[in-house]
């Protein structure tokens, strides 16, 4: 278990200490510790089955850890679940937009359920619409939107509340370079304006290298490496983050993920492309 310095704990927006998650005999997360500073963009990378999604599920209170502690925005995920959920925004990897509602209604719905005050809701929605360039398809049903439109809409719904910590699981999956730029520009703006901490998982090494202040690479349920992109390249004597990733994960071919995971992932990629 990594011992965290007191000063690091004080500034931490996300603090994970000795986290273990077991599903029966399977240990999905095997004693992970790390911290994310307030206002930081933190990237969690790793092959399929490394434990990234399980870690995010613990941090978003969807899953109880078997051992260890985790704090988000200063709240214990186990004892103060409601306070954690009031402080976060979360966009899962899977499509979370309701296809039977229009884009505008999805924004209204997530504004309501995330607790955006009624008097501020219309203004926040207008801001999110403008920021993510949603104006042209606001009145179209979710199921008729393209992959890029869906992702922008999902991120817009997560920004309505201006959360303290924003969890994004593969946020730019299936997006073209222009749409990716829009997403990251908006996230940068949010960070600058509201000091939001962004916790992101991605398979896009180049994107992680460019956008993340610090990165942790998970493998087999453990943190295999962590640091700034520069520190990681130096530590592994590698030219790129992709080389760091290969070195840190032992260069094995991916074996993680069940049939259901793979099927869902392929469907999702095809829907978003």
């Amino acid at each position: 278990m990594t011992q965290l310095a007191p000063v690091e704990e004080l500034r931490a927006s996300v603090l994970v200490d000795g986290l273990v998650v077991r599903f029966g005999e399977v240990q999905a997360v095997a004693g992970v510790s790390f911290s994310v500073e307030s206002g930081e963009v933190f990237g969690l990378l790793g092959p399929n089955g490394a434990g990234k999604t399980t870690t995010i599920r613990v941090l978003t209170t969807l899953l109880r850890p078997t051992e260890g502690q985790a704090f988000v925005a200063g709240h214990d995920v186990l004892r103060e679940g409601l306070a954690v959920r009031q402080s976060i925004g979360y966009v899962p990897q899977a499509i979370s937009i309701d296809g039977a509602l229009t884009a505008r209604e999805n924004l209204e719905f997530y504004g309501r359920v995330t607790g955006v005050p009624k008097r501020e809701r219309a203004e926040r929605i207008d801001q999110a619409v403008e920021a993510m360039a949603l104006g042209t398809f606001l009145d179209r049903l979710g199921r008729t939107l393209s992959g890029g439109m869906l992702r922008r809409l999902e991120i817009a719904t997560a920004l309505l509340k201006q959360p303290e910590v924003l969890f994004l699981d593969e946020p730019t999956l299936g997006l073209d370079p222009t749409a990716r730029r829009v997403v990251w520009d908006r996230l940068e703006l949010l960070r600058a304006e509201a000091g939001t901490t962004v916790f992101v998982t991605t398979h896009q090494m180049e994107e992680a290298e460019r956008q993340c202040d610090r990165i942790a690479i998970m493998d087999l349920g453990r943190i295999a490496a962590h640091g700034t992109p520069d520190q990681l390249r130096e530590q592994f004597a590698a030219a790129s983050l992709e080389d760091v990733f290969t070195a840190a994960t032992g260069g094995r071919l991916e074996e993680g993920g069940t049939f259901r995971d793979v099927r869902a992932s392929r469907k999702r990629t095809s829907r978003l492309a």
Partner: protein
């Protein structure tokens, strides 16, 4: 959540129309074929009128029991994870979903009553009684929707849920007073029917719509159906988050 369901219904009028056809078929084909059977109607003069509360509750039961399919779908597409990470209490999410099923059942029931009025079937048209019927319908539908969410949290695939849904819905429907009085059933089946919340829902609706009772008290019908909703909602709020695992 109820707000979202109303919005969805506004985008899909055809859904209400197609779902309303099934109870009408029961009423006007099954009911007409047995129209003069006094045994099945417990002595009431028109079996079709006797059937109205039964088919209204049955149509709502089908909506509610297969509501769990939506939970599995929402898990597969990611909506469930997203919803569970919002500040809404788990019980609020479950009751919101149950309200969604209730709104669909209400719309179906309304269509059915309009057709009953047009065809001049002999039911009592008292505003308070009609309100009471819809309250019972909403409570019952909410309870069965919560039961469906409990089942959905235990299975992994939509295909398996379909099988379990059929396994649950048929005994609930046939071992109740929806189609015939409990009194004509063999003793063992009467015991099952008396343990079935659908029997109380239909019994109360029948007393309010037709003014006939098979014994028992109207307040007991409301109490049983209301308690059924309360218990299943609390259990569903505990099991519902398991659906994401």
């Amino acid at each position: 959540m109820g707000w979202a369901e109303v919005r969805k219904l506004r985008h899909d009028h055809l859904d209400i129309f197609t779902r309303s056809v099934q109870p009408l078929l029961w009423l006007f084909i099954f009911g007409t074929a047995l129209q003069n059977n006094r045994t099945l109607s417990g002595g009431f003069h028109d079996y079709r009128a006797y059937l109205v509360p039964g088919v209204m509750a049955q149509a709502a039961l089908f909506v509610a029991i297969f509501f769990g399919l939506g939970v599995i779908w929402e898990r597969d597409v990611g909506q469930l994870q997203r919803l569970l990470a919002t500040p809404i209490p788990r019980l609020g999410i479950v009751l919101g979903k149950a309200t969604g099923a209730g709104i669909r059942a209400f719309a179906q029931g309304l269509v059915l009553l309009v057709v009953v009025a047009i065809t001049a079937l002999s039911i009592r048209w008292n505003v308070l009684d009609i309100i009471g019927v819809f309250v019972l319908l909403l409570l019952g539908t909410g309870g069965f929707a919560c039961l469906s969410m409990i089942l959905a949290s235990l299975v992994r695939t939509r295909e398996r849920f379909m099988g379990i849904g059929q396994l649950v819905v048929m005994p609930l429907f046939f071992a109740s007073s929806a189609l015939y009085p409990i009194a004509i059933m063999p003793t063992w089946l009467q015991v099952v029917a008396h343990a079935n919340p659908l029997s109380y829902e239909v019994h109360g609706m029948r007393e309010l719509l037709l003014g006939i009772s098979a014994g028992g008290w109207l307040w007991l019908d409301f109490l049983v159906v209301g308690s059924f909703l309360a218990i299943t909602a609390v259990v569903a709020a505990k099991t519902y988050p398991r659906a994401i695992l």
